[in-house]
């Protein structure tokens, strides 16, 4: 077993375990931390899968961005002095049923599927994946990229509209 393989399975295990933990744990904070761990492990897998740029983005945006926002959210919506950090579970059976059914089905169909490479062996894999990615992003994917910009703008405006309303209600 090579190092890469070991690391791969290590990350897999960490991601899986932390995800399970996330489902089981009842504290929101622990949940957020477990999610961070899970995402970091996934980032690790990205690195192993030759997607360094994605991995970095993952760490930056998820761990650095989204999770900070989420923790803000947690703090704003829970009263720390009391014990509302503890999250109750409900509809557990339904959840298990749906998730279990979904998982079993997915595993069943994925396992049956032989995924084959589409690459012509003649063409060598790109040396610098980040460069390729950048060029493709700004040529072929320029349009979605622009729309994504608009999306971010609108999200910003939307969030601000909703948030500003909170202020106006308070005053």
């Amino acid at each position: 077993m090579s190092f890469t393989t070991f690391m791969f399975y290590f990350f897999e295990a960490v991601a899986a375990l932390s995800a399970v933990g996330l489902a089981v744990v009842r504290n929101v904070f622990y949940g957020a931390l477990l999610l961070v761990i899970c995402l970091l492990a996934v980032a690790g897998i990205y690195v192993l899968a030759f997607a360094e740029f994605i991995a970095v983005t993952q760490i930056l945006i998820y761990a650095g961005g989204i999770l900070v926002v989420i923790i803000f959210g947690i703090m704003l919506t829970t009263k720390i002095s009391q014990k509302p950090l503890v999250v109750e579970h409900s509809y557990v059976l339904s959840g298990l049923l749906a998730a279990g059914g979904c998982f079993c089905m997915l595993v069943f169909v994925i396992a049956k599927e032989p995924f084959v490479s589409f690459t012509n062996s003649l063409e060598p894999p790109p040396v610098n994946s980040v460069q390729t990615l950048g060029v493709t992003l700004f040529s072929k994917y320029m349009f979605p990229f622009e729309i994504a910009g608009l999306l971010l703008l609108i999200a910003l405006i939307g969030a601000s509209v909703l948030a500003s309303n909170i202020k106006s209600k308070k005053t």
Binding site: F8, V20, C38, C102, L106, I110, S117, F118, L133, I166
Partner: protein, 101 residues
């Protein structure tokens, strides 16, 4: 190289767990976390599949877009959650159910 199926299984697991979290957790923030988990499952798939044809970066770019969308969703989502909290003083989704039959 590790077998691609194993990444897919992990993704499936994350996806299912995300689903489960969304259904069972009695806290909106936790549900948000579940959604992130589901989106990550997709990203894992995309990155893994990208390796089937590494000369094109379609999968990775898609993953990038997914992350962007996840960001904006999270932003708007949290704003909404905060607003709901403002009105209902709770983040338990079941308690936020004035609108029903």
């Amino acid at each position: 190289m590790f077998p691609i199926e194993h990444v897919l299984f992990l993704a499936a697991l994350l996806f299912s767990l995300g689903l489960m979290i969304i259904i069972i957790k009695r806290n909106t923030i936790m549900i948000l976390l579940g959604i992130e988990l589901m989106l990550n499952a997709s990203n894992l798939n995309l990155v893994a599949f990208n390796n089937l044809m590494p000369e094109k970066m379609d999968g990775q770019i898609f993953a990038l877009f997914v992350i962007i969308v996840a960001v904006s969703e999270a932003a708007v989502g949290l704003a909404i959650v905060l607003q709901v909290y403002q009105y209902y003083q709770t983040s338990i989704p079941d308690s936020v159910s004035d609108l029903k039959e």
